[in-house]
Symmetry: C2
Subunit: 157 residues, 2 copies
DNA sequence: CTAAATGCAAATATTTTGCAGGTTA
DNA sequence: TAACCTGCAAAATATTTGCATTTAG
């Protein structure tokens, strides 16, 4: 089922309403790639309808999160970032501390790690809800350094 | 070398000054365990000297971060959390989304994961600078659910 | 004595909330 | 038409900054 259909169905089921604002915000989420801030969404939304307020964007994002259509992650920046789920399914986010680029990575590569957290610590990690700071290959090659944090100096030896 | 000695030495080297406020803040960081917010630090600092302002706490934390004596992580809460480095060395933080508890975990368990990020994506992760959301064993057992986010439903199957 | 640090207050920045009026089902 | 949703404005929260004064070296 397409994302919009899920959205409409879930709205109906829960007694919520389909408004033009919500449609526009959902469509904007479709056209961006990677993680975006509420402000970025708002800017794009305003190209379509200039009167839509950022509070409506926040409220819609909150709603979409509740319906599991959108995921919110805390990067190390000031602003939260959001993204549409369900196209590629859940995945990890690698966030470059030098250039800010976000790289999607398969959750598979964290399988051992996930397992060890569960067996060794009784902890059930929500890895799909996480962004990993570090340096992307380009920035690492060019010798760029993180704009914040302690960097990626290979603490594991 | 003790943490305070490193601090004093680094301050001298860089032309910074050792003030009573800075000593108090550093001592408070020693006595707390796990990740603490600037506000929590400030509250404890004020038990010792009531006039110290929270802006001084922020400025000192920033300085300590620069000297690599303190690490700052973004949890999924609103406030940043800080902790003293160098006692146990760098480690991972497991943050329970239900009760807020922070569990320290060995970096070792992320070795495979780290390796795969490097070889598979050319990404150099800063895992010691990261907190992992999820559910702690107690909360998982009691059926508690995350106060935010998508939870820990085992997306890896 | 001088540059650096502090406390205070005000500014920023992001996100949330109250409410009157408009809209969906 | 009745509950829901929106835009606006203001509030709340966390962090940063400007500045006069104090203080460490």
């Amino acid at each position: 089922m397409a994302c919009e259909q899920v959205f409409i169905q879930q709205l109906r089921e829960r007694g919520f309403r389909l408004t033009p604002q919500r449609e526009i915000i959902l469509s904007v989420l479709h056209e961006v790639e990677g993680l975006v801030t509420a402000e970025e969404i708002h800017r794009r939304v305003q190209r379509i309808s200039t009167t839509i307020d950022i509070s409506t964007v926040y409220r819609t994002l909150e709603l979409l999160e509740e319906l599991d259509l959108v995921s919110c992650v805390d990067t190390s920046e000031a602003q939260r970032r959001y993204e549409l789920l369900g196209i590629h399914g859940p995945h990890l986010h690698l966030v470059c501390q030098a250039c800010g680029r976000v790289i999607a990575a398969e959750l598979e590569i964290a399988r051992d790690f996930d397992e060890r957290l569960r067996t060794g610590y009784g902890f059930q990690p929500a890895l799909d809800h996480l962004s990993i700071p570090g340096l992307c290959s380009t920035c690492a090659a060019s010798g760029a350094s993180p704009t914040q944090g302690r960097g990626a100096d290979g603490v594991l030896g």
